[in-house]
């Protein structure tokens, strides 16, 4: 009895499934996106030098001081609403070589609010942010 032991009808090379490959690709993409977040991203805040903090900022009348109190913002004592902050600062810093701002915020304001204001300042072109610390009691 001749039993033909031929190959089963399967051809040697099957059609490659694209779907799982795209799946793996997308998953790799997500992994790379997550890996980027490990970088430390910061808002750099300069602490005042040893001069008495309040006096340092006020010594130079050319300095721009942003005061943040609960619910109000003031740039060099001029009240500004939060929406006006970006356009006002952008205008102030255009053409100004010294891109420095001093931020004086009340202790009751949320940390997020302060960082947000500093971030807006960065968006307006500020390069150096200095924190004004209350006088040490």
């Amino acid at each position: 009895m001749g039993i033909s032991m031929g190959k089963t009808g399967r051809s040697e090379v099957s059609d490659i499934n694209i779907t799982p490959m795209i799946d793996v690709l997308l998953v790799l993409l997500v992994i790379f996106m997550l890996a980027q977040q490990v970088l430390m991203k910061t808002v750099d805040i300069q602490l005042p030098k040893d001069l008495p903090p309040n006096q340092q900022a006020q010594q130079d009348p050319d300095n721009i001081i942003l005061e943040i109190d609960p619910g109000s913002y003031k740039v060099n004592t001029k009240p500004v609403t939060k929406d006006q902050l970006l356009p006002f600062l952008t205008q102030t810093y255009t053409g100004r070589p010294k891109k420095v701002i001093f931020v004086k915020a009340d202790g009751r304001v949320t940390y997020q609010t302060v960082i947000e204001a500093m971030d807006i300042a960065r968006g307006a072109g500020v390069k150096v942010i200095g924190a004004v610390l209350p006088p040490t009691t």
């Binding site: 799946d23 430390m40 991203k41 300069q46």
Partner: protein, 170 residues
Amino acid sequence: MAMATHDVTDTNVMGEINVTPMVDVMLVLLIIFMVVTPAIAAGFTARLPMGAHLKSHDFKENEQTVMGIDGLGDYYLNKKPVPGCRFVQRQSPAGKAACGAQLLSWLQADYARPGHKPNDHSLYLRADQTRPYQDVLDAMDLAKKAGVAMVAAVSEQPPGVKAELEKATD
């Protein structure tokens, strides 16, 4: 004729193993661990503030100093809670002074440590965004006494925000 009907097709021991779904599952598990590990490794939880114009820093964990302020206002240095610096402990003048002394000595010790990046007196601050700024002001005040010149407030970039990530030059 009794012939043992013997379907060749279903006695194949195993079809060829599909590697692709296995790789897929492995990568998904990798993602899950990548997301979960920082939360576990952080030592404390702080919801960082959001910012769009952030600087990126090369951060080496053992060579630089990180101060933490969690959602309750407790202070941490390099992931360890600073003794005497829990928020409730800092509310009395005596407690505040004790915390101040403790944090100051820890900061000075950390900057003087041989493994620390020399001449790098910057302080990375991971503070919860809901804390009143006073907690941060107190921390900055003590940092200044320890010789810190710059506080790098670690923030998160909201997804989808296209921002220029300036590389810190120093």
